[in-house]
Symmetry: C2
Subunit: 162 residues, 2 copies
């Protein structure tokens, strides 16, 4: 369990957001920011059949996040919460997941148009997965402190920026 596990970026996410301040904190809360996902040549063949999905999961590397802190004040609250009870980027393994709307897929150029981006421009892409409601959608799931969140914030500030 001690051996390091290594990842390689399979592409990059292009968004209008250059800094954390002002970036939406989740895809659903985002003003639907259009963006592009650029997939590197060795991985483009794996994009086949993706176009039929309305949403896809982007898995990406929080490359500009602060290092891990066990307790953070999340955007929607005013007190410290356990990091694993938040979606803040200061994680031990800084991997983010976002379910974004898929608009189009260009197989040859490895380019996906997406909507609802909540990530910084230039974020390294780690994986793409189809959004499958049977696996992923639990609309009535109780959401702890978020269900009583003190703040209705939809935009980030700079608190997690390195």
């Amino acid at each position: 369990m001690d051996a390091p596990l290594t990842l390689a970026a399979i592409g990059v996410i292009r968004s209008p957001f250059r800094q954390q301040e002002g970036t939406p904190i989740c895809p659903a809360a985002a003003e639907p920011a259009d963006g592009t996902v650029e997939v590197l040549p060795p991985y483009r063949g794996a994009l086949q059949d993706l176009a039929g999905f309305e949403r896809i999961w982007l898995l990406y590397w929080f490359d500009r996040a602060r290092p891990f802190s066990p307790l953070v004040v999340p955007y929607r609250d005013t007190i410290k919460r356990g990091l694993f009870a938040t979606r803040a980027p200061a994680r031990p393994n800084p991997i983010g997941i976002s379910a974004v709307r898929l608009v189009s897929v260009n197989l040859e150029r490895g380019e996906l148009e997406v909507q609802g981006l909540d990530v910084l421009d230039g974020t390294p892409l780690l994986d793409l997965k189809p959004y499958i409601p049977e696996f992923d959608a639990f609309p009535l799931s109780r959401a702890g402190w978020m269900d009583e969140a003190r703040l209705g914030t939809h935009l980030a500030d700079g608190r997690f920026e390195r």
Copy 2:
């Protein structure tokens, strides 16, 4: 974009499944298999506030998966599909995500009881995130070939095992 990104396991997932054959292919399809998530000491402080969430995302490393193939025959189909249009483990960065039901959290021992596991026993844990319907639940999202999947399979076979 070429520098390797490194991860370290933050814990391990304990499940009843010793091999891919017979393991559920997703949490929703699983007979609710009880299991345990064991979190290593340096990360236990970050578990605070998690107990209020009905479901959590497990992010984990597919440590026994075959290497990347761009096209795979998924469990629910009989023809090849682009890997990124499937949840198969043979991914360039072998990271899995599963929304499991959270039963209990023991902060001191770093142990979470969960239900609906679809992962192999001993799988390295990379991250825990709260399941937040506002961010994650899109129950009516169109799901491409999966919406017309030829097979109703709920269990894996050995096809992606290394």
